[in-house]
């Protein structure tokens, strides 16, 4: 991985974690996973995905497994949607964001039930809405920044 790209991912991870402390329940690292999948560098995606998985599982309050499904379904949706849409299309990202919003609501309910916990449905629904809005916007921003890196300028 080149220096600027490494710097980009380090900064992205740090700022994503920092932003998550301001907007609880919203994943600010998920757009990075999609961007990494779009880069088509499987090794980078696996390393980043593994690191973010541990971060999200470690800071969460449910037992291990929720974020595995969360990122697993996101990657599955990306590959499925890849056949129907242009992978870097903003509309595709809006649809992915909507799916993530619904997934957040459903996954929280199911996983909390499995562990005999109770979660407030109203709050989780609101987090799902925020996730659906934040995802495409954040993806758009990091897509522009990522493609402005020295190695990627020709892709613009």
């Amino acid at each position: 991985m080149s220096g600027p790209r490494l710097g980009f991912w380090v900064l992205f991870t740090l700022s994503g974690l920092w932003l998550q402390s301001f907007l609880p329940g919203v994943d600010f690292l998920a757009p990075g996973l999609v961007l990494s999948l779009q880069e088509e560098r499987p090794r980078t995606t696996v390393v980043l995905g593994g690191l973010w998985l541990l971060l999200q599982e470690g800071t969460g309050s449910l037992a291990f497994g929720t974020v595995v499904l969360w990122y697993g379904v996101l990657a599955g949706l990306f590959f499925f949607g890849h056949w129907l849409f242009e992978a870097k299309n903003f509309l595709f990202m809006v649809i992915l964001g909507l799916c993530l919003g619904l997934l957040h609501f459903g996954l929280m309910q199911v996983m909390a039930q499995l562990q005999d916990w109770r979660v407030a449905p109203g709050r989780v629904l609101m987090e799902g809405v925020l996730q659906a809005v934040v995802f495409p916007v954040q993806w758009g921003l990091i897509y522009i920044i990522h493609n402005s890196l020295p190695h990627n300028v020709q892709d613009l």
């Binding site: 609880p24 329940g25 999200q56 800071t59 291990f64 974020v67």
Partner: protein
């Protein structure tokens, strides 16, 4: 096949908690080291911004007066911040830990984080390296805040009493009415459940922990009763309570940790009535403990299981 592996891993982790420990010791730990410097930078930036705003306001004034005022303002901002922090820390020091418990201060570094943060929690900067363990009680100067849910080496996640999954046995201070205090989510009041219609509990009473669950020491303030009503055909009263602390304003908290018993104290506090004491001094057979409790009668306060015997006796004597 993938689903089978996933479900196997999930079930195994629910039983053993091994993967959770790995995730806590990596993810939570790394996040703590990322957020702590970020918090410092944020304080500096906001302080700089306050000073900048101030400078804009006084630009029209005379140069010398402006310099003097700028200095004063800077000192005032710093002093106010330090005074507020000193007051919070003094309040924290004012928490007197119950006998056999010690107190340790911790800083709140973040509230709920990420998509997996389903419960009402916050993260503190003390972990297993400081002796913090799962279920360690967490208190503020106003009263109980919650208990530790998971730990890493130098950070821990705290489950607040406002979470719907928090259930703590409490007793009202004046009328000694017992019940289970349950959270109802952020911003909502707490609910006291399983209180019979004949109980004499009153509005304005303070609820304190009973210590029966073995997690919290008895007598810690939890909240104030705000509403007592009867509801339809229910055989229990509908009781609402307000927690004493404000989750949004929590900056520092105190952790209460059990002090390990001194072996000589154990020997001193136990009258040596048995001729068949097992080797090792302080240890006592379970049967003898049961007999003593039976002798004391049903009116004696219930003692928590798993506590050293000399502690039980000391509590009985209180």
């Amino acid at each position: 096949m993938v689903l089978f592996v996933y479900l196997g891993l999930f079930t195994w982790n629910i039983r053993t908690g091994y993967v959770d420990t790995v995730a806590s010791n990596t993810g939570l730990e790394l996040t703590r080291w990322v957020l702590t410097p970020g918090r410092w930078v944020w304080t500096r930036v906001s302080s700089f911004w306050e000073r900048y705003v101030y400078f804009v306001g006084v630009r029209q004034e005379a140069e010398t007066l402006r310099d003097e005022l700028a200095k004063t303002q800077e000192e005032l901002v710093t002093t106010r911040e330090e005074a507020a922090r000193a007051k919070r820390l003094a309040d924290l020091l004012g928490i007197l830990p119950p006998p056999e418990w010690s107190r340790e201060a911790a800083r709140v570094i973040a509230h709920r984080l990420g998509p997996n943060a389903a419960l009402e929690t916050f993260v503190i900067d003390k972990g297993s390296r400081s002796g913090v363990d799962v279920n360690t009680p967490v208190v503020a100067p106003e009263g109980v805040v919650g208990r530790v849910l998971r730990t890493s080496l130098s950070a821990a996640t705290v489950l607040m009493i406002t979470d719907p999954n928090s259930r703590i046995p409490v007793v009202s201070q004046k009328t000694r009415t017992q019940g289970i205090l349950i959270g109802r989510g952020a911003g909502a009041t707490l609910q006291l459940q399983y209180v019979s219609l004949s109980a004499g509990i009153e509005e304005g009473e303070t609820l304190v922990t009973t210590g029966l669950a073995g997690i919290f020491p008895p007598g810690l303030p939890m909240g104030k009763v705000t509403q007592v009503t009867r509801e339809g055909a229910s055989i229990f009263l509908n009781i609402q309570a307000q927690p004493f602390f404000d989750p949004a304003r929590l900056e520092e908290v105190a952790l209460l940790k059990r002090v390990p018993p001194a072996p000589e104290a154990a020997v001193e506090s136990l009258p040596d009535t048995s001729t068949k004491r097992p080797k090792g001094g302080g240890a006592e057979k379970k049967g003898e403990s049961r007999k003593r409790r039976a002798k004391a009668g049903p009116d004696e306060p219930k003692i928590q299981e798993g506590q050293p015997e000399h502690k039980k006796l000391q509590r009985e004597g209180q």
